[in-house]
Amino acid sequence: MSTANTSTVTNTGPGKPLLEVKDLRVAYGKVEAVTGIDLTLREGQLVTVIGPNGAGKTTLLSAIMGLLPSKGEIHFDGEDYVSPEIETLVGRGLGLVPEKRELFNTMTVADNLLLGAFQRYRRGDDSYEQTLSEVYSLFPRLWERRQQQAGTLSGGERQMLAIGRAMMGKPRLLMLDEPSLGLAPLITREIFRIFADLRRQGVSILLVEQNARAALKVADYAYVLEGGQIAMQGPAAELANDSRVIEAYLGLASKHQELLSS
C-alpha cells in the first residue's frame, strides 16, 4: 500500500474516523477514473466533495458503496473492506442516495420507504416503524403522498423519498450524490435543511455536490476532486475563502446565480 497523497493537510478533529479511504483506485477498462484517493470522515462530521463534472465524484461514492470494483483500502466503522459487498456495508450502517435516485417507480411511496428497512426487518429489528414515523414527520409531503406511486412524484419529492428511504436503514453514514441536482432553489434549501436534522440524530454525512457554495456552507471539511485526484482539502470554512476555490467553483456559481436572477 502506498499513500500517494502529496498534500500534508488531513482531516483531523474530534471524533473517531468513521470512514477512511486509502489509495482508492477505480478503473473503467483501462481508463482510471479515480486514481489514488485518500479521504477521511470522522464521526458526526459532514464532509463534502466538490469538483467539476467528470472529476470522479460519483465513481468515488459508488466504489465506497461497493457498486463498482475498486483497489485500495476502505475502512468503515472499524472494519476493513477490499472491494466490499453492498449488503454487508448496508448492514453495517452505510447508506447511499444516488444521483439517479433509483426509486421503485411502480411501487407506492410507503412501500419504497419500507423497503429501506429491509435489512433491519431481516435482522428482526422492529423499531423501523418508529423510523418510518420520524421520516414522515421530517417530510410531511411524503406522508401526504404515501399511497401514490413513486413514479408520479415531482423532482423534489423524489429526492425527499430517496433520502427518506436511505434513512429507513438507520445509517451511521449517509452518502448523498448531487442531492440538489435539477431541483428548484427553494427545494434545494429544504433538502439542505434536512442535513442539520440528520446530524442531530447522529448521522454522519458525505456530500457530493456541484453547488459548491451551499455545500461548503454546511460542511465541516471539504475535498476538491479534479481529474480523479484530490486537488485540495481542508476545513470547509477555509476552502470557502481560498482564492483558487473561489475562482474555480464559487465565482462561476455566483456569476451563474446573477445570470439567473437578472
Binding site: 457498486l67 449488503e87 448496508v90 433509483e102 411501487m107 428497512a117 436511505a166
Partner: protein
C-alpha cells in the same frame, strides 16, 4: 359439436390453462427479477410428477442423491469463495444445508414410501424438489448474474438440456401417472367432472391468491418486486441479487413441482414432457408482454382452452395452432409498447 362436448373440452382447457397460468406466472417472476428466461421450469414439472409416481410405487426416486450431490458442490464452492472470511454463521448454514440433504436421503431410504398418506407423499416430493431451485440458481446462474440476457438464455437452455438427460437417468424412459387425490366425481349439467379437475383449479386459484398477497403485503415479496423494478435501487438497500435469485428460483421450483403433482393423475408424463408444457406457459407469459401478471394468467388460460378445442377440430395441428398464437401477439406488442433497451 354439441353443448356436452363443449363443456368437456372447456373443462379440459381450463384445467390445463390453470397449470399454464401457474407456469406463466413463474416464468414472469423469474424473468423480471433475474432477467433469466427459465426454460428448465418444465423439468421441475416432470421431476415433481415422476418423483411423486416413484414414491407411490414405493421406489426411492434417486432424486435425493442429486440433491445431496448438488448441495455438496454448492458448499464446496461457497467455502472456496469465502475462504478468507469464513464466519461461523456461514459454516453453520453449510452444515444445515448438508444435514437437510442427508436427512432427505435417510428419509427416502427408510420410510415405507408407498404406504404413506398421499398428502405426505406430496410434501416429501416438494421437500426434495424445492431446494433444487435455489441450488440451480447458485450453481449455474449466480456466477453469471451480470451477464447479458442472451448469455443467461443460452445457459438456461443448456441447463434444460442437461436436466432432461438427468431425468432420463433418474426416472428411466417410461412414462408415469399417479393416483388421483380423491376418487369422487361431480355432475355438472350433462357431464361428469373429475374431482382432480377441481383440485387443479382450486389449488391454482389458491396459489395465485397466495402469491398475490405475498407480493403485495409482505416485505420479502415487496423486496422481490423491488428487485424487478430497479435492481440497483434494491441493491443499495441491501436486497442482494443472490437472495432475490435464490428466492425466485425456489418459488419457481415449488410452483413447477406442485403443478407436476397436480397434473400427474390426469396425463402421463415422461422425462422429456416438460419442455412443451412450460412452452405453453411461456406463450401465456408472452401474451402478458413478459410484464403483466393478470394478462399472463388470462393468456395462459386462453392457451389451455384453444388447445382443448383445437384438439377436437384439428388434433394434428393442435400444437401448431397454440404456438402460432404467439405471432399476432408479438406483432401487437411490438406495435403498442416501447422498445426497452437491454440494460447492458
Amino acid at each position: 359439436m354439441n353443448f356436452q362436448i363443449a363443456l368437456l373440452l372447456g373443462q379440459d382447457g381450463i384445467t390445463n390453462g390453470a397449470i399454464y397460468a401457474l407456469l406463466a406466472l413463474s416464468i414472469l417472476l423469474v424473468f423480471t427479477v433475474t432477467r433469466i428466461l427459465l426454460i428448465p421450469l418444465g423439468e421441475f414439472v416432470t421431476f415433481g410428477a415422476l418423483t411423486m409416481a416413484a414414491i407411490q410405487m414405493g421406489k426411492a426416486p434417486a432424486l435425493e442423491w442429486l440433491l445431496l450431490a448438488l448441495t455438496l458442490i454448492e458448499c464446496g464452492l461457497d467455502a472456496y469463495h469465502f475462504r478468507s472470511n469464513l464466519g461461523s454463521k456461514r459454516i453453520q448454514t453449510m452444515v444445515l444445508k448438508v444435514a437437510y440433504a442427508v436427512v432427505m436421503v435417510v428419509l427416502i431410504q427408510m420410510l415405507p414410501l408407498a404406504e404413506l398418506p398421499m398428502a405426505f407423499q406430496a410434501l416429501l416430493t416438494l421437500a426434495l424438489m424445492v431446494p433444487l431451485g435455489p441450488l440451480m440458481y447458485r450453481l449455474f446462474f449466480q456466477p453469471l448474474a451480470d451477464a447479458p440476457a442472451l448469455v443467461l438464455l443460452i445457459v438456461s437452455i443448456a441447463v434444460h438440456v442437461a436436466m432432461v438427460g438427468v431425468g432420463l437417468l433418474l426416472f428411466g424412459p417410461e412414462g408415469a401417472r399417479t393416483e388421483p387425490f380423491s376418487d369422487t366425481a361431480f355432475r355438472l349439467g350433462p357431464v361428469m367432472m373429475k374431482s382432480q379437475t377441481l383440485w387443479v383449479i382450486l389449488v391454482s386459484i389458491l396459489l395465485i391468491v397466495t402469491l398475490f398477497l405475498t407480493f403485495e403485503r409482505t416485505l420479502y415479496g415487496k423486496a422481490l418486486r423491488a428487485t424487478a423494478v430497479n435492481r440497483t435501487g434494491a441493491r443499495l438497500l441491501g436486497i442482494s441479487p443472490v437472495f432475490a435469485g435464490k428466492a425466485t428460483f425456489g418459488l419457481a421450483a415449488f410452483i413447477g413441482s406442485l403443478s407436476g403433482i397436480l397434473i400427474a393423475p390426469i396425463t402421463t408424463l415422461y422425462f422429456d414432457s416438460g419442455f412443451i408444457i412450460s412452452l405453453k406457459g411461456f406463450v401465456g407469459a408472452i401474451i402478458g408482454g413478459l410484464i403483466s401478471y393478470p394478462l399472463a394468467a388470462v393468456g395462459a388460460v386462453a392457451v389451455g382452452l384453444i388447445e382443448a378445442f383445437s384438439m377436437f377440430w384439428a388434433s394434428t395441428y393442435k400444437e401448431i395452432i397454440v404456438f402460432t398464437l404467439i405471432i399476432p401477439f408479438l406483432i401487437w406488442r411490438s406495435m403498442t409498447s416501447h422498445h426497452v433497451e437491454d440494460e447492458e
